[in-house]
């Protein structure tokens, strides 16, 4: 007989509640002395997954580094909504240089800190999927292969949302964007294109790679904390739903992130030195349709004549993720 430890979950979620945890295991955000690295009053859309992810990630990094963090930020939503001068939401030293050079700027900051002997000050770089997987990819790969002491966080919302929802190399197949229009015989983004940068990060053999979603913020915090225990190049790729680009309700951001994980669309795992160390398992895999249907960017798959084959193709990709990353919880024998 297998042993099943007793767990307490909040109603309707699989997230263990803060109140049931001992204080040292509680969320960084649960503490009254949280850093508020990104302060309130910024201009993010209602329900912005990126604002939520960044808030948890950077505060967790601040907690781990005892408040000694410098952040480099790529051009994009996060940069724009947080900082038009003279206002800034950032309570930490923060630099925005360009769209495609954030990893390199962070390398420079880390080099300066090293040469000045400030080992306690840590560097975080952050960007969206466009700034990370497309235009910033060269600098990202360079930072990885040199194993520079930088934690790079990618907030992946699957497109260039700041410029009006265009396709990036992280846009999922069949999704409608302004440049993958829902027209023609194969509407939406093309199958067989795009890249999954966490796997490419792992191929660099860097000390730490993890994925996370804003559905499980405690997991996100734990991964940032783990990353901050390590020196060298680290990468965390966070799925952050975008109500504007995905065509979802503002109040559905966390639900969409959870569905991405629970369908196998987005595998949540952590890896060290190129090897997967743990995954967030799926208790009851859900059909991808439950994830796709609420999103207007997939509206062309449904309606009068549902694109059954396309949905099946997406299902097959999710199933492959479940096999490849061993996402399905093992049942008791």
């Amino acid at each position: 007989m297998s042993f099943q430890p007793v767990k307490f979950y909040q109603t309707g979620t699989f997230t263990v509640g803060n109140r049931l945890l001992p204080p040292e295991e509680r969320s960084v955000q649960a503490s009254a002395r949280r850093f508020n690295s990104i302060n309130s009053g910024h201009r993010a859309c209602q329900g912005c997954g990126e604002a939520l992810g960044a808030r948890y990630a950077i505060d967790a990094a601040m907690e781990a580094a005892d408040g000694q963090i410098i952040a480099a930020n790529a051009t994009g939503c996060l940069e724009v909504f947080s900082t038009p001068y003279p206002e800034t939401s950032w309570q930490i030293p923060w630099i925005h240089s360009l769209f495609g050079n954030t990893a390199a700027v962070a390398t420079g900051v880390a080099a300066a800190l090293k040469v000045k002997g400030k080992r306690d000050v840590r560097v975080v770089a952050q960007g969206g999927d466009g700034g990370t997987t497309d235009i910033g990819f060269g600098c990202l790969s360079g930072m990885f292969e040199r194993n520079d002491d930088v934690l790079y966080i990618c907030y992946d919302n699957g497109g260039y949302m700041n410029t009006g929802v265009q396709r990036s190399s992280a846009t999922p197949p069949a999704a409608r964007t302004a440049t993958t229009m829902a027209v023609g015989p194969e509407p939406g983004n093309v199958f067989g294109q795009g890249k999954f940068v966490p796997a490419i990060a792992m191929a660099h053999d860097i000390p730490y790679v993890a994925t996370a979603t804003v559905a499980d913020l405690r997991d996100l915090e734990a991964k940032v904390s783990r990353a901050m225990e390590i020196r060298g190049a680290r990468y965390i790729h966070i799925l952050v739903p975008c109500p504007l680009g995905w065509g979802t309700a503002s109040h559905d951001t966390i639900r969409m992130a959870r569905l991405a994980k629970e369908t196998g669309i987005f595998p949540v795992f952590e890896a060290e030195h190129g090897e997967i160390k743990s995954v967030l398992t799926i208790r009851r895999p859900l059909p991808v349709e439950e994830y796709l249907r609420p999103q207007k960017r997939y509206a062309h798959l449904f309606g009068k004549n549902p694109a059954v084959e396309t949905i099946a193709h997406i299902q097959a990709l999710a199933d492959r993720n479940i096999r490849k990353y061993r996402l399905q919880a093992r049942r008791g024998s």
């Binding site: 408040g67 000694q68 963090i69 410098i70 480099a72 940069e79 724009v80 900082t83 038009p84 001068y85 800034t88 950032w90 309570q91 930490i92 030293p93 923060w94 630099i95 925005h96 240089s97 360009l98 495609g100 050079n101 390199a104 700027v105 962070a106 390398t107 420079g108 900051v109 880390a110 080099a111 300066a112 800190l113 090293k114 040469v115 000045k116 002997g117 000050v121 060269g138 600098c139 790969s141 360079g142 292969e145 040199r146």
Partner: protein, 417 residues
């Protein structure tokens, strides 16, 4: 200390004396020897504390320098040609953010067709980037200008490009007077940034600026460059006090007091021009030289002052504004506004085409007789050009231009230059 050394090595040693803290290196000819030498000094521990970072592109080189400079480190890199164009976005960003990075540009042409030899197209393509641009005439001056560049950059909180002719200077072994560490330390104070990324005093650097203040930010960049025009002569004077020689400044004149014809140029070609001027002076020609050391900010008043007594000005430049004529000459024209004199633009030495004394003798004599075209291409092979023009008239699919020209001229003809 006097020593016989390669231009690149001399510059590397001068940069090392400036105690840089972060150096970014990406290979491109002809600047490679500079960063190689610096890399060796960092690796063997003679240049410490310093981080030497092998980056994956010039774009990353400038970006790492941006991050390092914003975090308070004295930062340096070197590039040339395509590398400068590849980093262009970050070049503008560094000056926009007011980061005092120093960069050597080992001047080289820009393709296509690819060509590794010297002209000034690379640096001049970035003339409006907000960087200060200094042009060295000799290896000694290249060495000295780097020391002045760090002082200038950090004083003004603006990045400085030190331009030296690729191969002609970078690869030439010449005698230089290498300063001591004590001299450089006396001249160059510790870097005190105006803005720095520091958790003890968090600032946001590089946020968005809308129409309500953007023009003012831009104007201030211009105003700062104008300040540099005032400061540079003072820095050069201080340099003379400590190092005992004249280097840098805005412009240098040579035998131009009573000159009717003044040749304006930048960089190493000034040496050849001065030799020709000496020979012509012996024959009684009233000819002189105005060498421009500082191209950005452009020393308009000084150039005007240096040229206004002349009857004619010949701007000889290793650059070209395609569809217009010259770049340097256009800037010189700004300085001559309202003055009545003949002005000639001579495009010379593109892609490493040798500028010979023989050609200059002919050119300057023609100029004295006001027989020059307003834009002249020195030693251009018209037969080669015309043959290609005919070919294009005759055949729609005339093929790659450069290949056609080289087929016409044959490999042996390269010996002529």
């Amino acid at each position: 200390m006097l020593k016989q050394t390669e231009g690149s090595r001399a510059v590397a040693e001068a940069v090392a004396l400036c105690r840089p803290e972060v150096i970014c290196a990406y290979p491109i000819s002809p600047q490679t020897h500079i960063v190689e030498a610096l890399g060796e000094m960092v690796k063997d521990g003679s240049l410490a504390p310093c981080e030497f970072i092998n980056v994956e592109s010039e774009f990353a080189a400038m970006s790492v320098a941006i991050g390092a400079s914003a975090a308070g480190a004295r930062s340096y890199t070197a590039t040339a040609s395509q590398g400068l164009l590849y980093m262009a976005e970050a070049v503008y960003n560094a000056s926009g953010l007011g980061l005092p990075i120093v960069m050597t540009v080992a001047n080289r042409s820009i393709g296509a067709p690819i060509n590794i030899w010297n002209d000034h197209s690379d640096a001049l393509s970035q003339r409006d980037s907000g960087w200060l641009q200094l042009f060295a005439e000799t290896n000694q001056e290249a060495l000295d200008l780097h020391i002045q560049a760090f002082r200038l950059a950090e004083e003004l909180s603006l990045p400085v490009m030190v331009c030296m002719d690729g191969f002609i200077l970078t690869h030439a072994y010449e005698r230089v007077d290498m300063p001591t560490q004590a001299q450089v330390d006396a001249y160059l104070p510790t870097y005190e940034p105006r803005q720095v990324l520091d958790p003890a005093d968090p600032v946001s650097i590089g946020a968005m600026v809308g129409p309500e203040a953007f023009m003012e930010v831009r104007y201030l960049a211009h105003a700062k460059q104008l300040q540099a025009l005032q400061r540079i002569p003072a820095f050069a004077a201080e340099f003379r006090q400590i190092f005992g020689r004249d280097s840098g400044g805005l412009t240098h004149t040579y035998r131009s007091e009573d000159a009717e014809t003044i040749i304006v140029a930048m960089g190493s070609v000034l040496g050849t021009i001065k030799d020709v001027v000496d020979e012509m002076r012996e024959e009684g020609h009233k000819i002189g030289v105005l060498g421009i050391t500082l191209f950005r900010p452009f020393p308009i008043a000084r150039v005007r002052e240096g040229l206004q007594g002349a009857k004619r000005v010949v701007v000889l430049e290793k650059s070209m504004a395609i569809g217009l004529g010259g770049i340097l000459s256009t800037n010189v024209r700004m300085a001559l506004s309202g003055l009545h004199m003949h002005g000639y633009t001579v495009i010379a030495g593109l892609g490493g085409r040798a500028i010979t004394k023989k050609s200059l003798h002919g050119l300057f004599r023609e100029a004295e007789q006001d027989a020059l075209e307003s834009v002249t291409f020195l030693d251009l092979d018209w037969a080669m050009v015309n043959k290609q023009l005919e070919r294009e008239k005759a055949h729609r699919r005339s093929g790659p231009v450069a290949e056609n020209l080289l087929r016409d001229v044959g490999i042996v003809a390269a010996r002529n230059y």
